[in-house]
Point group: C2
Chain length 319, copies 2
């Protein structure tokens, strides 16, 4: 959550001259998004977000991300829409970085989402999945099983420092996930990172989904499993069945889950827990303690993984 | 430039209920101000900044800072005005920190201010000095000579690592400054940190001054010397006489500089260079290299100090 690159006002003025969005009134670096530098822009006409893509986003992926946001916005998803300049371009270069201006969304993310919000989220996720079906570009999920194995190789020597035996257990779990992974389930565009800070609410309704920079093509039900982990556990690590029911009921009201997807949910939830466990472990061992970026606790996802390992059927999730 | 503390939306809603400024539409942490956490708030009615005061601001000083902003805003200075809640209070507690909501100012700071902007800045500084004369509270400048000596004691053992002989030269300069410091000059409220990032412009005019958390009572001409250092040197360290002339001419058009103030400017400029040299040296040796906060280059102010030491009369500044 940071601004990694400063942009001089003079460069902003020059940038805005290429657009028909009015003259600059205000520009503030905002602490939103872990991967990029984001600025809140205000012109005479409207408000926008300017994003500078830093090194963790591959420039080759930008046409996918920006094209996807535009496609989704046109198809009923409340998400930032890239703004075209006078020549029709969306991608710019600002301060030596690839950059884009997108529309501003009202609303704000919730610290402690109530069950009613989980239902809203479920519906928004399903709308995203439906809208994504007609998006023509494809992007592989770099953080699926092959990616997990790479991350595991990088941290397997260190994991036991956090919990004795963790490395061996992760290795065994990865093997199980690889063996049983339900690659036959319905695929499509997934957000892949729909945590509460990427969902804006206004008056109890979802007003916007943001941060599509992990979006990719993968199993739709896996996206739901990511939300199950991110939205339905309490701060004390307990699993909130009411929230899980609300999430699924909101989702199912828009897109019917197939019986196979439902049956695979415990495994998908284990996979999702594994994905965030591994990236958090990697960051834990590779971010200096004195660095400003706050490291997220890997043990939170270790506990979630254990919980899902104990689940045999989706009925344990309350549905 | 960071957000040190997160505020849950639920806490923000509760905070806004105490005010008559409308319901929350958006809240974004912004990268503005080094010392505090700042949030851009948008309600149905207007835009605001919420500031949470972190440990580097002494809570006892907040009535001075907030009272000053209110006083200045009422007296012709474009600066954030603290918003009163329904009970008339300005100071709140948010996430365990002292906090205040202030009005939002349009405009943005310039990366490379042209001479015309220096003239505007000079006028804005003089207006601030005039408006401050009727402000009843007092605050000592913690970063004047006694403060410099404390900082020097903390870094004198390390300074030579940056430039051999630096410690001895700083010691000698501090003695000269102490001996000749012109404490008899006109005093009043000074901003004390009016760098380009604390001055907003809109269509060529100053639209706002921000960040009053170093403000104090001290020599008015010393504030001008701070601006001389902050605004009139180029990136290649050369001194821009045209900008200096513009700065002084803008200032003098509003508040006439006394002959004694003018004569003391070379010394005040050395003092101002010393103040920022010492705080930058302190931060340089006490901020881990891996920390996210970018350390500012002390050598920039070492060069400025040398420049002013070579100046015998204010005519060397071009006036």
């Amino acid at each position: 959550m940071a601004v990694y690159t400063e942009v001089a006002a003079e460069e902003l003025d020059a940038l805005l001259e290429r657009y028909e969005i009015g003259e600059l009134r205000s520009c503030k670096g905002i602490a939103e998004g872990v991967e990029n530098s984001n600025f809140f822009l205000s012109t005479e006409r409207a408000q926008f977000i300017l994003t500078l893509y830093e090194k963790r986003v591959c420039p080759d992926d930008l046409p996918y991300f920006l094209g996807l946001m535009e496609h989704l916005a046109k198809n009923g998803v409340n998400c930032p829409t890239p703004v075209h300049d006078r020549e029709g371009r969306v991608l710019q270069t600002v301060a030596g970085r690839p950059a884009a201006i997108v529309t501003f969304l009202a609303g704000y993310s919730l610290g402690k989402p109530l069950p009613a919000y989980c239902r809203e989220l479920g519906a928004a996720l399903a709308i995203l999945h439906e809208a994504g079906l007609t998006f023509p570009l494809k992007r592989k999920n770099a953080l699926s099983i092959a990616g997990w194995e790479k991350l595991f190789a990088a941290i397997s020597g260190s994991a036991d420092r956090l919990a004795p035996g963790m490395a061996q257990e992760i290795g065994a779990e990865l093997e199980a996930l690889r063996k049983d992974w339900p690659g036959y389930l319905p695929q499509g565009v997934i957000h892949a990172d729909l945590f509460p800070d990427n969902v804006f609410f206004l008056e109890g309704r979802v007003s916007g989904l943001i941060d599509f920079y992990f979006a990719c093509n993968d199993l739709l039900a896996y996206d739901l499993a990511i939300c199950l982990n991110a939205w339905c556990f309490e701060a004390d690590h307990s699993f909130n069945v009411t929230k899980a029911r609300a999430l699924f009921s909101g989702y199912s009201a828009v897109r019917r889950l197939e019986a196979e997807e439902l049956a695979a949910l415990p495994l998908l939830a284990r996979g999702s827990a594994m994905r965030f466990l591994l990236t958090r472990l990697y960051d834990w061992f590779n971010t200096p303690q004195s660095a400003f970026v706050k490291r997220k606790d890997p043990m939170e996802y270790w506990r979630k993984l254990k919980f899902h390992q104990s689940v045999r059927t989706p009925s344990a999730y309350g549905f």
